[in-house]
Point group: D2
Chain length 487, copies 4
Amino acid sequence: MSSGIRHYCGVFGIAGHPEAAQLTYLGLYAQQHRGQEAAGICTADGQRMIRRAGSGLVADALDAQDLEELRNPLAIGHVRYSTTGSGHEANVQPLQVSCSIGQVAICHNGNLINAAGVRHEYESDGHIFTGTSDTEVILHMLVNRDFAERPDPLAAVLRHLRGSYSLLMLHPDRIEAARDPTGNRPLCLGRIADTWIVASETCALDLVGAQYVRDVEPGEIVTLTPNGIQSRRFIERRACRPAQCIFEHIYFADPSSLVFGENVHLVRKQMGRALARYAPANADLIVPVPNCARCAALGYHEESNIPLGRGFTTSHYVGRSFIQPSQTVRDLTVRLKLNPIRASVEGKRLVVVEDSVVRGTTTRGKMQSLRDAGAKQLHLRVASPPIRHPCYYGIDFPSREELIANARTVEQIRDYLAVDSLAYLPLERMLSCVKPHNGHFCTACFSGEYPIPIDPYFQKDMFERQQLRFFEPLHGGDPAKDTAPAP
Amino acid sequence: MSSGIRHYCGVFGIAGHPEAAQLTYLGLYAQQHRGQEAAGICTADGQRMIRRAGSGLVADALDAQDLEELRNPLAIGHVRYSTTGSGHEANVQPLQVSCSIGQVAICHNGNLINAAGVRHEYESDGHIFTGTSDTEVILHMLVNRDFAERPDPLAAVLRHLRGSYSLLMLHPDRIEAARDPTGNRPLCLGRIADTWIVASETCALDLVGAQYVRDVEPGEIVTLTPNGIQSRRFIERRACRPAQCIFEHIYFADPSSLVFGENVHLVRKQMGRALARYAPANADLIVPVPNCARCAALGYHEESNIPLGRGFTTSHYVGRSFIQPSQTVRDLTVRLKLNPIRASVEGKRLVVVEDSVVRGTTTRGKMQSLRDAGAKQLHLRVASPPIRHPCYYGIDFPSREELIANARTVEQIRDYLAVDSLAYLPLERMLSCVKPHNGHFCTACFSGEYPIPIDPYFQKDMFERQQLRFFEPLHGGDPAKDTAPAP
Amino acid sequence: MSSGIRHYCGVFGIAGHPEAAQLTYLGLYAQQHRGQEAAGICTADGQRMIRRAGSGLVADALDAQDLEELRNPLAIGHVRYSTTGSGHEANVQPLQVSCSIGQVAICHNGNLINAAGVRHEYESDGHIFTGTSDTEVILHMLVNRDFAERPDPLAAVLRHLRGSYSLLMLHPDRIEAARDPTGNRPLCLGRIADTWIVASETCALDLVGAQYVRDVEPGEIVTLTPNGIQSRRFIERRACRPAQCIFEHIYFADPSSLVFGENVHLVRKQMGRALARYAPANADLIVPVPNCARCAALGYHEESNIPLGRGFTTSHYVGRSFIQPSQTVRDLTVRLKLNPIRASVEGKRLVVVEDSVVRGTTTRGKMQSLRDAGAKQLHLRVASPPIRHPCYYGIDFPSREELIANARTVEQIRDYLAVDSLAYLPLERMLSCVKPHNGHFCTACFSGEYPIPIDPYFQKDMFERQQLRFFEPLHGGDPAKDTAPAP
Amino acid sequence: MSSGIRHYCGVFGIAGHPEAAQLTYLGLYAQQHRGQEAAGICTADGQRMIRRAGSGLVADALDAQDLEELRNPLAIGHVRYSTTGSGHEANVQPLQVSCSIGQVAICHNGNLINAAGVRHEYESDGHIFTGTSDTEVILHMLVNRDFAERPDPLAAVLRHLRGSYSLLMLHPDRIEAARDPTGNRPLCLGRIADTWIVASETCALDLVGAQYVRDVEPGEIVTLTPNGIQSRRFIERRACRPAQCIFEHIYFADPSSLVFGENVHLVRKQMGRALARYAPANADLIVPVPNCARCAALGYHEESNIPLGRGFTTSHYVGRSFIQPSQTVRDLTVRLKLNPIRASVEGKRLVVVEDSVVRGTTTRGKMQSLRDAGAKQLHLRVASPPIRHPCYYGIDFPSREELIANARTVEQIRDYLAVDSLAYLPLERMLSCVKPHNGHFCTACFSGEYPIPIDPYFQKDMFERQQLRFFEPLHGGDPAKDTAPAP
């Protein structure tokens, strides 16, 4: 059972628009960087629901006929990442079922820590599970007598859940949007005239021409109907312990998005400036690793006044259908995505800015290719701290052993990456780049301090049986993350 | 008959490698930005030839089985653009035939000006043409008695051709590579150990791990065999009048490539610097239009010291399969490829750097979206002169009437684009950014001075009967070029 | 909710063979005529299960990689028909779930009459349903406390079910096969050496090289393991009221199969002989309607001594991808599947033998085309009685109103079909062609006498809300069944 | 060079119908049994031409958009067989070119014996060939001065051709249809009101609702325009030596077609009767090998009064996508297409009627499966003589060595096939079944008497270099032909 593995995802919902399915399609498209393995939309007309979903990019998963059939005024949608084993069709969200409260569809971004335990208990109690996602567990809880008979069953269920979740639930006549008490994952509200929208990131609001209004608060449930929104809390504000995922700012979110109250691009630039102050370098040129580190490189440049250059050209054509080259030429293909510009780097002392380093193998390859292209010195600057711990709230990092910083000193990593100098941005300095009044951040992958306790069942699953794997590149054509094992 | 329409293309050839087809596949992939409509490879084993080709990107056009069947030590390949009408299979290159000199395959990048006339003459004389490409005309000339009986038929044919061409011809036992006397299109030689390679751009050499040796010279024919290369000239060096396509540096070529003896990235940066000197701006931030103008924007920044920002995030997911949104939400999709980063541009006076402006409609949309995102002032700086004339040597611009600069003053263009100020880099200043000792450049699209006279037949075809269209974005996910008509 | 709609299906299971998935694939292929809309296989290795399924023919639904991944010694598989509305992925069988009894997969052929009621009751009780098939209901009952705590939960559940079913259930280490107390649908046991197999029809045993052993008896559960089979009954033999579906012999089953103890081809031939005795004709030639009626036509010929001819050629190339012709030529396409042989029928008095007539529209078209081809007289002989009543046990006939015999006398039908004479084989005569000692048959569609009472819920669903539709041609390229409405 | 290999094909043309492309599509569909490897249509509007073609069945090769783009009043189309090596796109017919006589498209059914020689001569003379089909040779001859300057160039070319051909040539404003002086391949004229049609078989006329008018005569050219037809001869009638392909009647043509003036079904039945008279058998049941031999089996039955049974059921679902089973179960798949009906044949003495035997391996397998199903005796009766010689006029038999009758006596063949008795229909008796007044037949594959002399070039190609292969089953789902080598 792999129910413990969670994936990074994006959600979108809209209540009361004649082209709800079309706008949801665009909203998912804008959040494509949050999930490229599958996409689905479920819509409702006040009485009935219809669902269409498929694997791959939004444009592959859904076609014009799907959108035509989905023509209803209420809609929720989902894009997701999956690991190989659990990629089967029964898990593609939104999940739609029929049960005692009628037809319901649900999708979420996040990871439920106590899902495995609840599921085990419910199975013993006669429940049947068709997929392996923890989303399904939420539905089972909802119709369970323990919760169903409460005045507000959804609130009761949410109080019982442990983990991170930004959740959308579609009923025939309304959408309920909820965010976990730690606010670990982003979730924002916007509007087009009188139509309300909810999405993981504001870039989805921008694309559909909606105005950002506010975030859904940690511990809040917002109900969206064609007549407006209503808010209630399932947990008191003062009882909420914010633990927003700092990795949204470091890597996941689109630079144009407003996440946790701040623009991602500006935060990243700040991190770059802080990095320049903390770890200056005697160099001729700053080279960002495309495309994510470009914001941080800009900040490093502004602070250091070292010229900002372009070290690589990027190819946008690599897809899954690319033929695996033969053994002999296999090593050529590491250059497929990143081609160093020799004329730009030859004979230069380079500051290479990265947003983060996971396994280290890809970074090592990039350093080698810059060296091959004639770079005289390589000073690697990473705009976040070393990643040393697994994430249980939704990031599918590789196993602890595969993390390059797990059992190595910075010096040892420098040796492995074969660079002249290496510096990571320390945790406190990184945190100084985000506004404290927006609440605390989860930094577990750096610090090992987990804001939400891990339950025994989950531990067992996670530690003993599962092979956690860090996602493939989130951003198309972006090779920033490592994919092969280190020494 | 649409034989006058030429396309922008890329070629690759390799003589004497056990994995020639695989390396050609990679070499075409590296030059994917030069042609995305079709791809083909033809290989030979000393006696026989085999050809495989298809439409779409390299990875779509050819599959693993094709490569397996193509396993031969000599190979040439081609990627190309096409216009709708002439996209039929008979035109996909390399073109392979059997004739008096045995089996021959040919592919080229460029445009033959006198092809229509020659073709007409040959048809009258009993020749049969199966496609509409001018490549076919070259083959017919080769076996024509007038040329076939000369001591060097290929040289004789090339002397007779008018136009631009970088040409590869595959015989069962060798490759012949030729470049027209003006050197209008790039063509370079490289080697992996003792194996010789020829390609349009050096980025293809880089990807396959080959070393750049030199360019094929204007007026030269280089024969590549497994035993090495041999050179001969079909026209004396002193009789060659270089007219290298300046648009390779402005837009077509990959920034990492060495083209006409200079690195494209550095030339573009120089153009950006020249632009900053010629047309400074009182502004807070420089915003490059991704992805092409990033090099020029870097130059503008270095010269002006105005901070270099990031105005847009780019999406890499838009493909042909994207569903056409309904009428109501159609205007939302202009944001699909370029999403402005509000936090970055809001309240700012921006310098927007473009590499070139063709129709102006897309640029206008981008300016509008920056304005919508809160930009206070927009100062558009274009790193090349206004395009006012059609190209007959291989660039498929739209018709003269659709060129925004055709009948408008810079002031009128400024009004249409709705920017606060607008400046183009003047022709002489642009030319000052490339090294003169590498020879003269063709600037016909800016100046109207055509280095190769246009023959009457061609004129008739081009001006009366054909609808010339500028290509769709060359670089994946790059929206830099306009696609809709202007007022 | 469309849970009342059942489809005609085929099942196959094999316990303990190194190539279980491969053999199941072949076994499904042999039963392709029982279901062409979707196919699925689920396999187990003693501990884990894996499932692969898809839409379309077996060869489309599953590919080589699927079979590779399914490499386990125990397997069950399913082919099915579906109606448009319920064709969504969640319904493709086998259905695999995880619940209190571990992992279970299930598939069946038949129709549960009381599924809707049970489902409604269970939903009220907190159960969640993800699809619309009644198969899912069986699983919910199994884990329900009422049944789960019995000594033999499966037997308890089966005793509670109403309707027709030939059911396979896969556990990690065994297969359970059960047949309803009426034995409405066929289910047979076979073996390859020591490996036991269960299938809907013996033609599946033949194809995989297995020997037929016996049928699963009505009211029996057979457990198949790699070590052999075990039998138990969930209802006493004397309490079983056989009601075998006579339509298996008339139309569904493959002529080579042994169904309900008799060979289908021989039974059909007997029906043809009985028809010839009951309704002789003064004619020159017998023309079977391909391909199903060929067996009956053979019988008619043997009894009547009227020469057996060939009236039609059949096309095997019509598939779903065939382009819908324009309005003008649409009426030409009725000839696509059946082309009359003019030279064979011109000027002749024909006996046309059909196995059954449902809507009558296709039959009418065939009669017209024979008339157009020059037939002098048309004497239609149908080897079964008029269909006047809906089937609730698994045949998806059109609505009562669409059945041509519903409100018409034979005379009126004759007029509508425009034939010179028309005769149906009377019910008793038809029944005289099958061996009585094999038990009684269900003839509800002819007689209106339903052997299993219809429950109120089901009635409501079936009669008020649903549009029942008779399946498209079961046998590839067989146009024997009608598809358009009658006057 | 494989230009000597010819394929079995079908053609269709229509002059002056608003839905010419649609009707051609249907006309090709009706002749799908004549070629399943590729299909193409070329249409004209009086001035321009457009061509669409693809590989596979008609429904795969052309889609709705193709038909839309082909919307022109004149159309010709082609279906063809190909051998692996020559299946590349340049050979898919119709072949469309532009030359001195403007745009021309051509397609044909047949085989030119002197094509290789002419081609060689023309290549020496400066012509260029893009494919390997002999159709291309015809075009080159047409524009050659030797022919182009004659009063009627097409007639002059046809007089020069040696071999079999039923040829359609599309000009912008008319279709020319020609049949070789031996009339080796069928070609018929039909009409829908005032619109004239030409097709290989009359079954194509039937499907589009056209009336058969007459055959194109050997040595005749018929010009079809929207205004009617005109006829001329390129060779005098008395100079024509009819040599119609008897295999059209034995195997190729559709039973419903009128070929060479006689209905195929009736001719086959006559052959069956002749076979019964020549080689009676003491047997209980006649079993035709589906589907081709059904007509002959009917005749054998009528003459012998031995009951006609059904020995096999046929599957219509086997396609190319069927997964290759593993080594272990590979031998099961011989039953995939033909499943013996045990109940029908068990304990019986069978007369098995075949239309022809080529390699013998498939027939041997069928005999074995009938034996396995319990047949007591097997008396094989073949409704044509032993095939002992290659065909140079269009049938792609296997090499002489692979023909089972090449070097074996009937007795030896009987042993190999393991039947109790074996008889072939002798040549004269077979010829007595077709009307002599329709002209002579070519029986070269049986007798070795070639009506058209073979030229030296062709001999060289055919005998030394080429591996002739008999086609895969012509009729879908028909396994009548052998595919594996014999001892």
